[in-house]
């Protein structure tokens, strides 16, 4: 492509100049193609969080914990220090890190299975201790990595490979609103639910992530930023259909907005 004149008469070199730059990969994301399926919210979530880290100048301060789930390889993309935790144990690993390095900015990045099924205990107790780190919680209502089993957040009636007749709340339980649950705990500073389906929501989600890091810097306690996301592959939808599902089914069940804000914010 490079050098070849295109129809409008400009060459690649003439177009790619600093004055024309309106959008760029943040330096906090490695030059590495995402392995996420086309249209997957994980990619957007990675990007906006890394933009926040770069904009706040925290590249050197941040230590992240990757879960087991589709984002297990987050450390291949995020250009910050990372640890990879066993399935569900990210909040315990993050506790270890933050207790050793209280001045650093620590976050976990976890799916719904990781944070709200196998890791529920670790999540609740880290939150209850008021561990001063951020948990980014990608709620796509399904186990993406293992190909579409029911998650704790799967909607009632939703078909997955382990709820082939639709989630039956009588025997398979109700979707777990872990955000609302955690908001009850005194150690928890900030709980908010966001989405990354449309630009407006993406901007809000980014703002929320930024706030969470500011609260952590102030030492306010545990922060949870839930991101209602999608899984086109295992929902068996096109990316567009999946975003429509987020808007029409997921968000009405998981309403967006702040669930708990720090005391000082309320003033």
């Amino acid at each position: 492509m490079s050098g070849a004149p295109v129809e409008h008469g400009y060459t690649h070199e003439q177009i790619c100049i600093p004055e024309n730059l309106i959008y760029q990969r943040p330096g906090t994301l490695l030059e590495q193609e995402f392995h996420y399926c086309p249209g997957c919210g994980h990619s957007t979530a990675h990007k906006i969080f890394m933009e926040v880290v770069e904009e706040m100048g925290l590249e050197g301060e941040v230590i992240g914990v990757a879960p087991v789930g589709c984002s297990v390889f987050a450390y291949h993309y995020l250009n910050v220090d990372m640890q990879q935790a066993a399935h569900g144990r990210a909040c315990a690993v993050a506790t270890g890190i933050k207790r050793m390095l209280p001045d650093k900015i620590v976050f976990t990045y976890q799916g719904d299975g990781d944070l709200a099924a196998i890791g529920t205990a670790e999540t609740i107790h880290a939150a209850n201790r008021g561990e001063n780190f951020l948990a980014i919680f990608i709620n796509n209502g399904i186990y993406g990595m293992t190909s579409g089993q029911m998650a704790p957040t799967t909607l009632p009636g939703m078909v997955t490979t382990t709820s082939p007749f639709g989630r039956d709340t009588k025997t398979q339980g109700h979707p777990l609103k872990i955000g609302e649950l955690l908001a009850l705990l005194p150690g928890v500073a900030y709980v908010t639910r966001q989405a990354v389906d449309i630009p407006k929501n993406i901007r809000k989600a980014k703002k929320a992530l930024q706030k969470a890091l500011e609260y952590q810097k102030k030492g306010l306690g545990f922060c949870l930023v839930e991101i209602v996301s999608n899984c086109p592959s295992n929902w068996k939808m096109t990316p567009l259909e999946s975003n429509k599902f987020v808007e029409e089914k997921m968000i009405p069940f998981y309403p967006l907005g702040d669930i708990k804000v720090p005391q000082e914010e309320k003033k």
Binding site: V68, V72, Q84, A86, H87, G88, G113, A117, I118, G119, T120, Y143, T146, S147, Q149, M150, P152, T161, T162, S163, P164, T171, Q172
Partner: protein, 356 residues
């Protein structure tokens, strides 16, 4: 003759669970065995009323097994290596409380999160006891889809006979591959309740309880002696194995599960080349066929043990043969599967070549 079907190992195992009249399955998704929970979720409850529950973790799943088995029910769980590691604590409690149950480990490559490809790195964990305390699992190692079916039924029989946990130790390849299987007919769900089960105290009778806590050392030792007596009985009566071409064998290839299948092919190729190779495949890994190896050792020039690990079962082969023959090991790790030709090549180089 029972119904014949072409089935994946994991699905055949699940179908056998339903047909064996299993009362409940508790499990957590993990590759390469998620088909089990998926198959059961589709099939089981409608057919037999079997309870299927996706637990929030393997820690929870094994403790659900504890509770359900304590009610005298036929229960089973399955997982793969990282999940089985999480179950080790629960297994120790189950062994101590003497609760019958069956679990399957569809072994994948480790350590750690590892890889989802087949491996046999969990032999020691399964056979030497991965949890704390002096206990054993009775370990069955299927090498075909048919044995995935047969060992579910056998597993329940042995678990109930010995009141303890039975493990089916298989791997990702056997779980994923399809073979022809003959299914046994649907068995009725069990209706008799063992007297040790907790089902509610009956009027005028003592309560029953299930525990693994025996705070008095004297009592704890008695419990241990009872467990050891069971393991002794297993060693005497439950050893199972398969042998091939032992009559004229000068060399023995040995391995279990998938490793044994690959060895069989290596043996076939070797025999075509004129080497007199026989084969031993332990079916029970605990109890181990110690006497068989001991009796064959003085009659052969060498034993080549092949595993998909760094050499775990080979330790038991060495112990059993007590220096009466040469024991060599060949293994691949981390989800790499040795090819039959590569095994034979190693045999020719190390054993035939080395013997000169």
């Amino acid at each position: 003759m029972g119904e014949i079907k072409l089935m994946k190992g994991n699905e055949a195992l699940s179908e056998a669970m339903i047909r064996a009249g299993c009362d409940a399955y508790f499990g957590y998704p993990i590759t390469p065995q998620s088909e089990v929970l998926e198959y059961l979720a589709r099939e089981a409850t409608n057919r037999t009323g079997m309870v299927i529950l996706q637990a929030e973790s393997e820690v929870a799943a094994i403790n659900m097994i504890y509770g359900a088995a304590g009610c005298g029910k036929r229960v089973m769980t399955t997982s793969s290596s990282p999940g089985i590691s999480l179950m080790q604590e629960g297994l120790s409690y189950i062994a101590s409380a003497e609760l019958p149950c069956v679990l399957a480990n569809v072994n994948r490559g480790g350590p750690g999160l590892g890889t989802i490809q087949p491996a046999q790195g969990d032999y020691n964990q399964a056979v030497k006891g991965g949890g704390h305390g002096d206990y054993q699992l009775l370990v069955l190692a299927p090498c075909s889809v048919q044995e995935m079916v047969d060992f579910v039924k056998l597993g329940f029989e042995l678990a109930e006979k010995y009141r303890g946990p039975v493990m089916i130790l298989t791997d990702g390849a056997i779980g994923q591959m399809m073979e022809k299987v003959e299914l046994f007919d649907q068995m009725p769900r069990k209706t008799d309740v063992p007297d040790w089960a907790t089902t509610g105290r009956k009027k005028g009778q003592d309560r029953t309880y299930i525990t693994s806590l025996f705070i008095e050392p004297e009592v704890m030792e008695k419990v241990n002696l009872k467990l050891q007596a069971k393991y002794k009985q297993m060693r005497e009566t439950e050893v199972r194995y398969q042998t091939l071409n032992l009559d004229d064998a000068e060399y023995i290839f040995t391995g279990y599960g998938l490793g044994a299948r690959i060895c069989m092919k290596a043996m076939e190729i070797g025999r075509e080349k004129g080497y007199k190779i026989g084969m031993i495949r332990p079916i029970t890994l605990f109890p181990f066929p110690v006497d068989l190896y001991a009796s064959i050792a003085p009659k052969v020039k060498a034993i080549l043990d092949v595993e998909l690990n760094a050499g775990q079962m080979v330790q038991d082969v060495i112990l059993s043969t007590m220096g009466k023959t040469r024991v060599e090991f060949y293994g691949r790790m981390g989800g790499i599967i040795p090819e039959p030709e590569e095994i034979l090549e190693y045999f020719e180089k190390q054993i035939i070549g080395g013997a000169k």
